[in-house]
């Protein structure tokens, strides 16, 4: 073996090391990395291109807003970023994991471990009390019985609803319901929170309370939060805002 050959090998080795550190750094910085997302809805003969070649990076610990007019594709993008909807093309990496390379059940398990959801319509089980709704999420994550009850109570306390633990959703105000839903989303301490229009069904007072809560809970634990909204009041708490229009993403300013 000649000296030049050894040199070459050594330089090859250091190059691959550099690559490794780059990819490690990328997962370190970005909790969400989306590349080339395309979504085409096919209904009958009609094809509708809802998302057009979207790239998005969300930094760890950031509150990322996704704004845009109704029908612009926000919910579609959120569903894809959460691994609920498979895009026509493109890739999504969450916390360093290429989620669409996972099998269906692995992906479901990934969501269970890492993502908390908040919905515009709250999506609470009407037959269950506030605390039971939170317990269900804990049960799913393998926390059972007494431990689940204890943790559920703690979570309700964090959202200021420990007094309402035994109430059914129908006996709670919209703001209270959304706080129960937030407590449920926080169950099991996920690193990502994904919220679709969390304040759209709330009046401004309750909306504000929910936003405050989201911000505090996110910042406190260094969670990454993706919020789809039309609500301009949320802009104040966001680290970064992206705009969608007709399926095209226009990255906004990072603050």
């Amino acid at each position: 073996m000649t000296a030049t050959q050894i040199d070459l090998l050594q330089s090859a080795g250091s190059a691959s090391q550099a690559n490794l550190s780059i990819s490690a750094e990328r997962t370190e910085v970005n909790a969400i990395v989306a590349r080339g997302i395309e979504m085409i809805y096919q209904s009958g003969a009609e094809r509708f291109r809802a998302l057009k070649n979207i790239d998005l990076d969300v930094k760890r610990g950031d509150i990322q807003l996704l704004m845009g007019p109704s029908g612009s594709g926000k919910t579609t993008l959120l569903s894809i970023l959460a691994g609920i909807l498979t895009p026509t093309a493109g890739s999504v990496s969450l916390l360093g994991e290429e989620i669409f390379k996972l099998s269906g059940s692995k992906l479901a398990h990934f969501r269970l471990q890492n993502i908390g959801f908040i919905f515009q319509g709250f999506n609470l089980f009407p037959a269950l009390t506030a605390i039971e709704n939170v317990e269900v999420a804990l049960n799913l994550k393998g926390i059972r019985k007494g431990a689940a009850r204890q943790q559920a109570l703690g979570l309700l306390d964090q959202v200021g609803l420990s007094q309402q633990a035994k109430r059914h959703p129908q006996d709670l105000s919209g703001g209270q319901k959304q706080r129960v839903a937030i407590a449920r989303a926080l169950a099991g301490n996920p690193r990502l929170i994904m919220a679709d229009e969390p304040t759209a069904a709330l009046d401004s007072h309750n909306g504000h309370a929910v936003i405050e809560l989201l911000r505090n809970l996110a910042k406190e634990k260094g969670r990454t939060v993706l919020i789809v909204t039309h609500d301009p009041r949320i802009i104040d708490v966001a680290d970064s805002v992206a705009y969608l229009e007709d399926g095209v993403l226009k990255a906004g300013a990072h603050r």
Partner: protein, 416 residues
């Protein structure tokens, strides 16, 4: 999992009650149809099952217990001589009409046998005594048949044909649902009843070649005719027609071999074991009459109705909660978690439908048995089978409802 299934079920109490009423109805329908079929087939061979004869000697033409050609009473004597036979007895079955004092007439089937022996009459006598049937013109009837004969109690008297018949005892669990009312009495009485109301005359004509051809004529006596003076029924002669020879084998006999010896010794007969004649009778009634088919059809309808009801209820319950189920899936719950919630709901519906149904059917069966003499036979096997069927019905419906949540539609989960 926090009890989503149960909570969902009881969320809307009126709907739950309507659903359970539907399931109770369906399960009861299945149970009653199966119970009637079982009770019916059992009742057709009750007398055979309760007899203690090892073998039944019958005419070759026998179709079922009550449909056979007569054989001569001398076959009893012949059978008694066959080696291996411990005891042989005559059983006579005849049809007639019962006439109550109030003028009600009812077709009856008369069973004549030896009241001193229990070879035929293995059943329980709930009132009176079996031996009382030895007295002239005395009979036993099933306690459930009294009303149908237009009678009310022991000691009353009606008429069979033109002859008097006093009810001296009540038997229990003897009446076949499909038959005329059974009358139990001694061979002598039965023989008298069988020929009662008949005037016999012999007319003979001399043929050209000098042969004498004689014909026995049996004619019905005029209904309002003067009753013949009552005489004690005569004992059977060897030429009198009977229906069966009941045989008890000596201890340790091979029944199949004894059967063959009897058939060889008694020409134009066929010999059945107790199980054979019981089966032949049951199969006749359940298959040849279509009753079995009709009742099975009823049970099937019950099953389908139940399936549709449970399916409908579960489907609408799942539809009502499709967003919550979708939310669970979005959160990362496996399909199995969702299915198990729906299955648990189905199992609760099955259980809470089955228990009241079974209680209802047992109560109904007790009533029909005492009031109508119709047996709805719910054996532990039937009860177990119906439970399995209820579970299958509910789980089948659940599988139908599950398809609603096999995939999450983000449009539903994220709906405002």
């Amino acid at each position: 999992m926090a009890s989503i299934a149960r909570k969902n079920l009881f969320e809307d109490i009126p709907r739950f009650i309507v659903a359970q009423a539907g399931i109770v109805f369906a399960v009861s329908l299945v149970t009653i149809q199966v119970g009637i079929l079982k009770g019916f087939t059992r009742s057709t061979a009750l007398l055979i099952d309760q007899s203690s004869a090892d073998l039944w000697v019958a005419s070759k033409e026998m179709v079922h217990l009550e449909l056979t050609s007569p054989i001569a009473a001398e076959k009893v004597v012949q059978a008694q001589k066959v080696p291996g036979v411990e005891r042989a007895e005559a059983l006579m079955i005849r049809s007639s009409v019962w006439r109550s004092d109030s003028g009600l007439i009812t077709p009856v089937r008369i069973f004549g046998f030896d009241p001193d022996s229990r070879l035929f009459a293995g059943w329980a006598v709930s009132q009176g005594k079996l031996s009382a049937a030895k007295q002239p013109f005395s009979v036993l009837v099933d306690r459930s048949s009294l009303k149908n004969l237009g009678q009310t109690q022991l000691g009353e008297q009606g008429k069979i044909g033109t002859l008097p018949a006093r009810i001296v005892g009540l038997s229990q669990d003897t009446q076949s649902i499909v038959s005329s009312i059974f009358i139990f009495t001694s061979l002598e009485n039965a023989n008298a009843y069988a020929t009662a109301g008949l005037n016999t005359s012999v007319s003979c004509t001399r043929q050209t070649k000098g042969d004498l051809t004689c014909t026995n004529n049996f004619e019905n006596a005029p209904l309002d005719g003067v009753a013949a003076p009552l005489t004690t029924p005569r004992s059977l002669s060897i030429s009198d027609p009977i229906s069966y020879v009941l045989v008890r084998a000596k201890a340790g006999q091979d029944l199949q071999q004894l059967k063959q010896r009897l058939e060889a010794a008694l020409p134009n007969t066929r010999v059945y074991t107790q199980a054979e004649i019981a089966d032949q009778t049951r199969v006749y009634w359940s298959d040849r009459t279509g009753v079995g088919f009709i009742l099975s059809l009823g049970a099937t309808v019950g099953f389908v109705v139940g399936m549709v009801i449970v399916g409908q209820i579960l489907y609408s319950s799942v539809t009502d909660h499709v967003r919550e189920f979708g939310t669970l899936k979005a959160m990362g719950a496996s399909n199995w978690v969702i299915y198990s919630v729906i299955l648990e709901q189905a199992m609760w519906m099955a259980l809470l439908g089955y228990i009241p149904s079974m209680a209802f059917c047992l109560g109904l069966g007790a009533w029909t048995q005492t009031a109508k003499g119709i047996m709805i036979l719910i054996t532990p096997a039937t009860a177990g089978g119906v439970f399995m069927l209820t579970v299958v019905m509910c789980v089948g419906s659940a599988l139908f409802a599950v398809q609603k949540v096999t995939r999450v539609d983000p449009a539903i989960v994220f709906k405002a």
